[in-house]
Amino acid sequence: MSEVKTQPADSVVAQPAENRVAWPLGIAGVVLLIAGSFLSWSYDRKILGDLSIIGNPGGLQRLTIIGAVLSLVLLLAVKGPLTSKIGPWLDAALGLRAFGAGLTLYMVLILVAIGTESDGLINVDPGAYISLAGAILLLVSSRLLPLRQLNDLSKARVAGWAEILAIAVTMAAILFGAAYALGLTDAWSFIVCLVFFATVVTVMFRTGTLSWFGHVAQRHKKVLTLAAFVVAFFFPFTQNGSDANMSIATQVLIFAATAMGLNIVVGLAGLLDLGYIAFLGSGAYVAAMLSESAFATINWHPPFPIVVLLGACTAATLGLIIGSPTLRVSGDYLAIVTLGFGEIFRLTMFNLDGTNGPLLTNGPNGIPGIPELQIGGFNFGDPHTIAGIELGRFSNYYFLLLLLIGFVILVFSRLNDSRIGRGWVAIREDEKAAEAMGVNVFGLKILAFAIGAFLAGLAGTIKAHQDVAVSPDQYIFLESAFLLAAIVLGGMGTIAGVLLGATILKLLPEKLRFFSEYRLLMFGLLLVLMMRFRPEGLVASRRRQLEFHEEDEELAVAIESELVEEAR
């Protein structure tokens, strides 16, 4: 086994003799994987979808085939027709190792799932064992393949159309992957499917494809954004009128939009806000109190656009009230005050019940029965049929929330690229120096705070209608903590990262309900692991990466030249 990474790229052909068996072994693994997938994996039709039909692979078996085919591509990049073209660029051996390990884990989990869900391994058909053998062969083969020194994939240049095609293909894969994963109803299938996706992402990371894609995305930001929205837009059409996943999707979008708002406060201005959920709550309560619900306490029902403005402005005003005395002092105090503010908000909503205070919120009962949104003549409760596909109530809200999140992202990126954004960078770096540079430190901080509150209030007004009811217990501290966790997990100050973090934190608990008792434990563990292995978050803002790897001068220079290039 050769672990040398120092061999130059052109010596690929001259492999050491002991590795002669590695490549055929890999091919054999791929063949076994595919062949096994066409056979039955289990007698039991109720396990993991239906994996019992010979010749017609079920969903998880198709994933196996996809994994096998991708492994084949990597193998052919090591030796074969693709060697000269993409061989020098891809870190194929590392990618194969990830595939080998990932697919083996995947197959083992499937065996475990079959074993536990239907009385023992007796229910496993030979097909599954064949595929498992294939995965193990692939793992062994990848261990024997030599690691090679490569050209830097991030410097690879292909035609512009090819890069855009890569974005389109990736986005389509994400759409189908998400639709497929969400369609899985049993937890085992979902977990196994997650393992597969994690494997593919790891492979992309190991081969360098991921960072290449990052650069491509950097070059075609607009195309990527557009593609992402197109994918998000088409998602409801993949659901065949089912509301189950759309309900989750709207929850995710609300959560993501709120997290993006908080990202302005935390990620851009560097202010730790531990009571952000209260701003979402104040928007929701304004919308509920002004709605036509029988329990609404204010007898004035303006049209929704006015409610939105009122809700957002109420939140922003609260933000100003909380922010103006505390933003003058240093960070820790702000965290404490906002933490307190979040609790005060909840308790106030709890007590404005007519006995302890004026009747505004119905106290712990909250305001139920909030009617569907009505904008102009469009009622958000009515299902619609477009191109033969029924879009239900949640799809309506989904599209509205998509607009909202688009708006929040627009605000975020415009701010980030503006003079205000540069001021925030300076404040984050050194407040005193920023002041001496003529940065209006207090003004910019309170601006961030107010904008963040405004956006949360905005999201709250929609949330009230979508949830049908508001009550104080929706706005507990834990929700603020989750929002913050989404930002830290995804990558502070980034758009893609926070969207990803929000999706993960909201989606996983919904799909893994049997796990709900250990939810907090899992998140805690996840955050600890993140802090240990990737403190800058899943998607790192280049600048944040620098903050966590200050000693790495090479990385620093690389990152800075990118940033300087961008500034010019």
Partner: protein
């Protein structure tokens, strides 16, 4: 001719402790004025008050004949008064170029900012060579150059330097001090705060000696350099 900067009876206190006790001095257009004194004499406090980072408890600060002692710090920079703070306070994780660009934060004339970037690189070629490098990786002298370059990016009429020679090698100190003269030639007025009296007074048109919050001596740089008390107290001569 009215002075570019005029301080009248300035008093600054941290709570009950009065750090600057009713001092008055002025800086004329085109001059290099040095404020010298030992640790704790109130030099840095004076500068921080002028640039609006601290508020005086008494007295007036006039810049170009206008009172600025209640003007917010960020507006003072816009008026043309730049402050290169004690300890340099560069942004260590940002690159040289980003540091310089933040120095021009108050300006909107992007083309001119770019021209001034080049001017800063002309003044300090080493900054130009390393424009993409994070400033935290620099030596003390290079950081001082960056701090001065950054302060100049706001196109100030008056540049206040707080102990630019602190912690520098004699060669580097010479280099920094000759830059002060260079900037003066280009038309910038400079208020220089220093512990290193020799270096500061040699270049100064006028100087003030601050001792525990009070101005005890003043005169042209030459006069002060030859003053017996100054020689004894600050130049270590008998």
């Amino acid at each position: 001719m009215t002075a570019l900067l005029e301080i009248r009876d300035l008093e600054v206190a941290y709570g009950k402790i009065v750090a600057v006790k009713r001092i008055s001095f002025s800086v004329e257009q085109g001059q290099v004025v040095s404020l010298i004194g030992t640790n704790g004499a109130g030099k840095t406090t004076t500068l921080r008050t002028i640039s609006g980072l601290l508020r005086p408890t008494y007295g007036e600060i006039l810049f170009q004949g206008q009172r600025i002692d209640q003007v917010p710090a960020h507006d003072i920079v816009t008026m043309g008064l730049a402050h290169s703070p004690e300890g340099r306070r560069i942004f260590p994780r940002l690159s040289v170029e980003e540091n310089l660009r933040l120095g021009a934060f108050t300006r909107n004339d992007h083309a001119a900012v770019r021209a001034d970037l080049d001017a800063a690189y002309d003044l300090f070629p080493i900054l130009g060579e390393r424009r993409k490098q994070p400033a935290g990786t620099f030596s003390g002298g290079e950081q001082q150059m960056l701090a001065m370059g950054r302060a100049m990016m706001s196109k100030p009429k008056l540049l206040m330097l707080d102990e630019p020679s602190m912690g520098l090698s004699p060669i580097m100190m010479k280099r920094i001090m000759s830059t002060v003269t260079e900037l003066q030639k280009q038309g910038t007025t400079i208020l220089l705060v220093e512990q290193n009296a020799q270096a500061a007074l040699k270049r100064a048109d006028y100087g003030y000696v601050l001792e525990v919050g009070k101005i005890v001596l003043s005169g042209t740089g030459r006069e002060l350099l030859s003053n017996d008390e100054v020689r004894k107290a600050y130049l270590g001569e008998d």
